[in-house]
């Protein structure tokens, strides 16, 4: 491609240099295809399904809707940064234990969305959980086990803090 660009993205605390990229590439594309971070998934390319959720300067966003070059100077957090040493977060473990994972395509985006929710609201109501996750489509589970996973994390964290 022509229309090349060189820029640097700050992802999970590390600087990543992007070279020879077409300026029209989305953050999702650059993460997946240029930087070897395929955890964010592309499923709709229009911000409807949440599979590509990353956290950008503290906001959960659809990385398919963000131009990569416009994310220069931002702090980007992806699913790969949650457990850099290979251990699992409580949310990740609860998704496994409660059966919230089937095909798994929506899972990384949901993991990011749940962490983001619980970072901002330690005791969400059932409806707050549903609203917070309503931008993440899951086609396999019907959401029941996902809610069970969130409930488990909330109750374990509450127990630990008491």
């Amino acid at each position: 491609m022509s229309e090349h660009e060189i820029y640097t993205l700050r992802i999970n605390g590390d600087e990543h240099h992007v070279k020879d990229a077409w300026i029209g590439e989305s953050l999702l594309y650059v993460l997946r295809e240029r930087l070897g971070l395929p955890g964010a998934k592309g499923a709709c390319e229009q911000g409807e399904c949440g599979s590509c959720t990353v956290v950008l300067d503290g906001d959960a966003v659809c990385s398919c809707l963000v131009l990569a070059a416009s994310a220069v100077g931002s702090e980007i957090a992806t699913v790969e940064g949650l457990s850099p040493d290979g251990s699992l977060t409580d949310v990740q473990q609860a998704f496994i234990d409660e059966g919230a994972v089937q095909c798994g395509f929506c899972t990384p985006g949901l993991i990011m969305a749940v962490h983001h929710l619980l970072d901002h609201n330690t005791t969400p109501t059932e409806l707050e959980v549903k609203e917070a996750l309503s931008g993440n489509i899951c086609r396999c589970t019907g959401y029941g086990r996902i809610f069970a996973a969130v409930d488990k994390v909330v109750s374990v964290r509450l127990g630990a803090s008491q």
Binding site: P38, G42, C103, F105, R139, C140, G142, R145
Partner: protein
């Protein structure tokens, strides 16, 4: 349902909620889906598709596209080295359109280039001259013999009639209706994707692809590529859901052809819009039914005429039609039947397999009819279903005896016994009202309704198909390695297969080899068949290995092997003191066995639709509770209660996952999901316009397992994938009728069907 324990199990044997072995990778984002694959020196592939539902191709000019820097090759029908068509049942679909395009989105050419954006520009630069033709968009017209065929194979894909018993039998109750279903999309999240790696000599190819049936893809691809089957090697790439949409060929042939043509690895991945055009959908249907019943509401005869629109190519339409027609009676006793059914070809989107496979369509009609019978007999929806409930040994309208366990009445009773949801609060949170986050509903316009649906679903393939699955089991040094070509699409066979091996062989460390075509076929991950078929194959291979192990231990200890058994992780003498761990007994030893599991044979149907065409059946009951904003026409499904005939819960957590997931898909068909087609043109190929159930739309599910092990099932378990999504749709629609008094006969129910 929220009480499936995963914490108390000790060994992950059958019957426990063993956890997914791929769960860790999936929650960390490191599980390799097909779309995550990458190879050195790789190019991207992309497909040019028809903007017209029906047109004659006058010319295809690729000159300008070839001149774009970064474009490596462009291929059309002229570049297909082998068979020019493919198809699951009949080979009627072109790899690339040649003379005609017959549906909007039909592939015409493919390009390989250095970047997806280069591909997009190259596709835009290909000039195709069309003579646009008037599409055949009405399924009824496809039946008219005076309408010109749109395909050399004609406009009628299959006609099937079922004639049984007294053709004039009637009773004091006669009810009828015409029911319609729109096109539902499987909408798996992981769109079609593959990576093809050509051999250095250009005479073979490795393809990593998300599919439901590796060996069927391999067979069809080899024919089109004009390569020996063993030169087309397929490996399962991580699959992001399937639900029927990965049974047919999509990008497989194109991707392999581009790789062979460029001698470079090719990655193809459909975007969401392309995915809507790239796979078959659930058949839209128009079904007329008339039931004759006695004054007590007992069915005397069912009559039906069914029209399924298969779209432009046959895919599995003929088998979907069999399912629809042979399930017209539902899970009810019925001695007399008159069914005429048709699957037709039109210029609408091609349709084929989707979870429920024809039975979804029949069930919406027969369950709507059951409520009409109940009303005429002045009995409840529950009572009419109990009075007619099928039992083991009853005959289907095909004359086939239901030899499967048929706990229909038990499913209904257990569903009825499940708790009802709380009444809607006088001051509810707007989020829990119809319309959800739109916060548009008004409490005072909300009416609650309750509805019922019950279904019968055949499991496994039908009509004489000699279906089988293959598994190889190796036991060495206390470790089991499993090999099979069973597509893991998310359903959890990778969890179940090790459970089987642990149970049979007393080993805890289980490895699963990659799923590929280096072993015999496992058949398709469809028709709720893999637990039975591939479960049977793994179980069979494990048992053969266990026999070899017992022979060995018997020899070593001078004990008749027939006295030996597995107790937890030990080999024990059932009549003596010997106890030796399997790990110790297999140290330095290697036992390997392959087993091919076949189900019992089935028959073709005769000219009256009579014959033992199905293998086995599973049953389920659903009760839906809905809140409806009658002014806005919005629906909130509050709760779905269900008791499902599962034979035996081999993994309760997985069963719950199938039940809840299937219910959400059935809810989608009931109230929101439809591919809208206008004169052959798809209007909403995106997740913005094709609505899917979200977390706010999901109902509370209360579920009960009906466990009566099926004598014919190798593990006692019936497939659990399809039943959850079948009768939930009519249950929800019945609940909306109950709330509104409207005579709703079409799904999805749209707001204007309710409020206008």
């Amino acid at each position: 349902m929220s009480s499936v324990s995963t914490s108390t199990r000790q060994r992950d044997v059958l019957g426990t909620s063993a956890l997914r072995p791929d769960g860790g990778a999936k929650v960390q984002g490191s599980f390799a889906f097909s779309s995550d694959l990458w190879a050195e020196n790789m190019l991207w592939g992309a497909t040019l598709r028809s903007p017209h539902p029906y047109a004659r191709i006058i010319s295809i000019d690729t000159t300008a596209a070839w001149k774009i820097a970064g474009v490596e090759t462009i291929i059309t029908h002229e570049d297909v080295p082998g068979q020019l068509t493919y198809g699951l049942i009949s080979s009627d679909q072109p790899v690339f359109a040649k003379d005609f395009v017959r549906y909007m989105g039909e592939p015409i050419a493919a390009v390989a280039a250095d970047h997806p954006e280069t591909c997009r520009r190259a596709l835009a630069a290909i000039v195709v001259e069309y003579e646009v033709l008037t599409p055949l968009a009405d399924g009824e017209r496809a039946l008219d013999p005076t309408v010109a065929p749109i395909h050399p194979d004609g406009n009628v894909i299959r006609e099937l009639q079922i004639i049984r018993g007294d053709q004039s039998a009637t009773g004091p109750i006669v009810v009828e209706g015409t029911y319609e279903l729109g096109i539902q999309d499987q909408a798996f999240l992981g769109t079609e994707a593959a990576l093809a790696l050509p051999d250095h000599d250009g005479k073979g190819v490795d393809v990593y692809v998300a599919t439901q049936w590796l060996h069927e893809d391999q067979k069809q691809m080899a024919a089109c590529l004009n390569l020996p089957v063993d030169k087309v090697r397929l490996t399962l790439g991580g699959v992001g859901g399937a639900f029927g949409a990965r049974e047919d060929i999509s990008l497989q042939v194109h991707c392999a052809l581009l790789a062979l043509r460029t001698s470079r690895p090719i990655k193809m991945q459909y975007g969401r819009e392309e995915s809507f055009f790239g796979h078959v959908h659930r058949h839209p249907a128009k079904i007329w039914m008339r039931h004759h019943a006695d004054a007590d509401g007992r069915i005397i005869r069912v009559e039906s005429r069914m029209l399924l629109d298969g779209g432009a190519y046959a895919s599995t339409s003929s088998a979907v039609l069999t399912n629809a027609a042979t399930h017209a009676q539902g899970p009810y006793k019925c001695d007399n039947a008159t069914v005429y059914s048709y699957a037709v070809r039109t210029n609408n989107p091609p349709c084929g397999a989707m979870r429920g496979f024809g039975v979804v369509q029949a069930c919406f009609a027969h369950e709507s009819q059951m409520d009409k019978i109940a009303a005429a007999a002045r009995i409840s929806p529950v009572e009419v279903r109990l009075r007619n409930a099928m039992e083991t040994g009853d005959l289907l309208i095909t004359g086939q005896p239901v030899e499967s366990v048929a706990p229909v009445a038990r499913c209904i009773r257990e569903t009825a016994a499940l708790p009802m949801p709380d009444e809607l609060s006088p001051t509810p949170d707007p989020l829990e009202l119809p319309g959800g986050s739109g916060r548009t509903a008004d409490r005072q316009h909300i009416k609650r309704g309750i509805g019922w649906g019950v279904s019968i679903k055949n499991i496994m393939y039908s009509e004489g198909f000699d279906d089988y699955s293959t598994a190889r089991v190796t036991l060495q040094d206390g470790v089991v390695t499993l090999k099979f070509a069973t597509s893991e699409v998310g359903q959890g066979f990778v969890t179940l297969a090790p459970q089987i091996a642990r149970t049979v062989l007393g080993v805890d460390q289980i490895l699963i080899d990659p799923m590929d075509t280096s072993i015999g076929s496992a058949g398709s991950t469809s028709a709720s068949r893999q637990t039975w078929m591939s479960g049977g194959a793994v179980d069979g291979a494990c048992r053969l290995v266990r026999e070899r192990l017992f022979e060995r231990v018997g020899q070593q200890h001078n004990i008749d092997p027939l006295r030996l058994a597995i107790d937890r992780t030990d080999v024990v003498d059932t009549m003596g003191d010997l106890r030796i761990s399997v790990a110790e007994a297999t140290l330095g030893q290697r036992f390997e066995e392959t087993f091919e599991y076949h189900h019992r044979p089935t028959e073709d149907l005769d000219e009256n639709g009579q014959g033992n065409c199905h293998v086995a059946f599973a049953f389920v009951a659903h009760r839906a509770v809905v809140d409806v904003d009658t002014e806005l026409g919005l629906v909130k499904v509050v709760q779905v209660a269900t008791a499902q005939d599962i034979g035996r819960a081999l993994n309760p957590l997985s069963v719950v996952g199938q039940i809840e997931g299937g219910i959400a898909q059935g809810l989608g068909l009931a109230v929101m999901e439809e591919i809208i087609v206008d004169n052959g043109r798809v209007q909403n190929p995106s997740f913005t316009d094709y609505l899917l159930p979200t977390a706010l739309d999901a109902p509370v599910v209360v579920a009960s397992f009906v466990e009566e092990p099926d004598p014919q099932a190798p593990l006692g378990a019936k497939g659990v994938g399809e039943p959850p999504c079948i009768s939930v749709t009519p249950a929800i629609v019945a609940a909306i009728r109950d709330a509104t008094g409207k005579d709703l006969s079409r799904v999805p129910v749209r707001p204007y069907d309710i409020c206008l």
